[in-house]
């Protein structure tokens, strides 16, 4: 490119040459990051789509084109539907609860309660722990005949249910763990937004004699809407992305009652080594994340976060 420009000095204005130089420099600066992103984000996304139309190579038999077979297998796979349902319940249980608690925590920590610093520390600490450590700790609590819950319930003369071993309670038990881990993280975003809010709003409300609840409902909460949407998107992504605790606590059991979509992808891909079917399952995950991206693009005020 630059050789070309040098060869035709008469037709290239200085402004055009400067533009060209900026273009080349810009791309050179971007190149290392772009190459890694292309190799580990864009290429695998496309390769997943491609490989989902092929069979898994078995022994001497290589991978062959099978059209929609992997997707047909998926539609006939009761575990897939079970896992999808689990993921929906898990998201519906985790997201509103953790966002609600995060908002409450942020308002408290930002207010004039005694010991704010200690409160903030207490709420935020689970966020710095690895999910895997969190899962180990909670696994211990949930252990039948021994764990913390058995001790608490046992003190009143009852027997605690086998939380992780029963189909009806396992998902709820995992939701509790996820909420404990995530609420403090989302609190930080609300706290940041609250601290940017003008104090004159509260002063005006105080002069008008507005109650605390009224002020929150009519002023604070609407002003926090962009933060809520941002947190919501992150919470949805996390509900698809974070399955560490399932590996530790239940391995998807009992009877797949606690398997989430990504965990099932992991199981199919790395325990049954069926990479073709895992690719088809990953496509579902990618489609959902894609839909989320489009939704965010269409419905969120992009100026709030991306400018």
């Amino acid at each position: 490119m630059s050789g070309e420009a040098a060869a035709m000095p008469a037709s290239v204005t200085p402004a055009a040459a400067a533009r060209l130089r900026a273009s080349v420099q810009g791309w050179l600066l971007l190149l290392p990051a772009a190459a890694l992103l292309a190799l580990f984000t864009h290429y695998p996304t496309i390769a997943t789509f491609w490989h989902s139309f092929f069979s898994t190579p078995k022994g001497a038999r290589g991978s062959v084109f099978v059209g929609m077979d992997n997707y047909r297998q998926m539609i006939d796979d009761p575990i897939f539907w079970q896992v999808l349902k689990n993921n929906a319940y898990f998201a519906l249980g985790t997201i509103p609860l953790s966002i609600g608690l995060a908002l409450l925590m942020a308002v408290w920590v930002n207010g004039r309660l005694a010991g704010k610093g200690a409160l903030r520390l207490a709420y935020f600490t689970p966020t710095v722990l690895p999910m895997i450590a969190v899962a180990n700790i909670w696994l211990f609590f949930y252990t039948p005949q021994y764990g913390l819950f058995e001790q608490v319930v046992g003190a009143f003369g009852f027997t605690a249910p086998n939380f992780l071993g029963t189909k009806d309670t396992v998902l709820a038990s995992l939701i509790v763990v996820a909420v404990w881990k995530e609420a403090g993280f989302f609190m930080i975003f609300y706290l940041a937004a609250l601290q940017q809010m003008s104090p004159s709003l509260a002063e005006a409300a105080a002069i008008e004699g507005a109650s605390r609840w009224y002020f929150f409902r009519r002023v604070t909460f609407p002003l926090l809407m962009p933060t809520t949407l941002f947190v919501l998107v992150n919470a949805i992504i996390n509900s698809f992305r974070l399955v560490d605790h399932i590996v530790v606590m239940t391995k998807g059991g009992p009877d797949n009652a606690s398997a989430l979509l990504l965990y099932y992808v992991y199981e199919v891909g790395f325990r049954f080594w069926d990479s073709a079917y895992a690719a088809a399952l990953t496509m579902v995950l990618l489609l959902m994340l894609g839909a989320l991206a489009v939704g965010q693009f269409l419905f969120l005020d992009r100026k709030v976060h991306y400018r």
Partner: protein, 274 residues
């Protein structure tokens, strides 16, 4: 901000509720620490006379190569952060201050990674690592995360707020693009670098699923995977030892957090305001 009117009774009630929630929130961790520091017969029994012990930690340390796991995680975290800082700085500078062909499309392609994080693509990334012949190595764990869309985004926002006049002044003095970046932009973005570093270190110290998939030997396993291997092998499930191992692997990050909690919280807040 001091919100509207509030009766003293209401304030007391709210304070009590906030503290109750805080106690519920720290209970699991406090309980785990209790179990780790007491003999196993006191694992679930609370007695003020229970003797303190470090034996659980000693047993855990002897039962698995935790020293190696610590080394692996430290190397991994340092390597990922070092590469991220360089790549993200360069890319963010390009996006913030250069008019180049295809810039807006390229930026959207970068943001894709915020939605589709590397762990979602583990089947294909595993295949890539296998083709590259680097399965079961530290670089394989780190590579998919090194071009961090989050880091590029965060630094681009910061660079955009730096007045162009500063850059022009440096240019007049004959500084090249890279010199301008190093002398003008990077020093002014220091707090953001700290914020990004803290977020990145805690993410990679804690990351689990992708390292679990891509490693299978002691020489490359990070702490999280090592802890999982340790606690899932049938060694008679001694909760005191497992809890001790859990506390031990978490301790460096937890202690750093407790010491520098103001910086941590502010960094996470800074990373959150975009």
């Amino acid at each position: 901000m001091t919100p509207g009117r509030q009766s003293p009774f209401g304030l007391a009630l709210e304070t009590a509720a906030a503290w109750l929630l805080a106690i519920v929130w720290v209970m699991p961790l406090v309980y785990a620490i209790w179990t780790a520091f007491h003999p196993s017969e006191f694992a679930t029994r609370f007695a003020l006379t229970a003797p303190l012990t470090l034996q659980n930690f000693r047993n855990a340390w002897d039962a698995a190569p935790f020293a190696r796991y610590f080394l692996n995680t430290t190397l991994l975290v340092a390597m990922v952060l070092a590469v991220q800082l360089v790549l993200c700085t360069l890319a963010a500078y390009a996006f913030a201050r250069f008019e180049f062909w295809g810039r807006d499309v390229a930026f959207i392609l970068v943001l894709v990674q915020l939605m589709i994080m590397p762990e979602v693509l583990l089947v294909e990334n595993y295949r890539t690592m296998s083709v590259l012949g680097i399965l079961d190595t530290l670089p394989a764990i780190g590579l998919p995360y090194m071009a961090s869309a989050f880091g590029i985004f965060l630094l681009r926002q910061t660079f955009k707020t730096i007045p162009k006049e500063l850059e022009e002044a440096a240019r007049v003095e004959g500084a090249s693009a890279l010199q301008i970046l190093m002398k003008v932009y990077v020093p002014l973005a220091k707090p953001v670098y700290l914020a990004f570093a803290l977020v990145s270190v805690s993410f990679h110290w804690n990351n689990f699923l992708w390292p679990l998939v891509v490693t299978n030997s002691v020489t490359s396993r990070p702490l999280t995977v090592g802890l999982q291997v340790f606690s899932s092998t049938d060694q008679g499930i001694d909760w005191s030892i497992i809890t001790a191992a859990t506390i031990m692997t978490t301790a460096p990050l937890l202690i750093a957090f407790l010491l520098f909690q103001r910086q941590f919280v502010q960094s996470f807040m800074r990373a959150g305001i975009r």
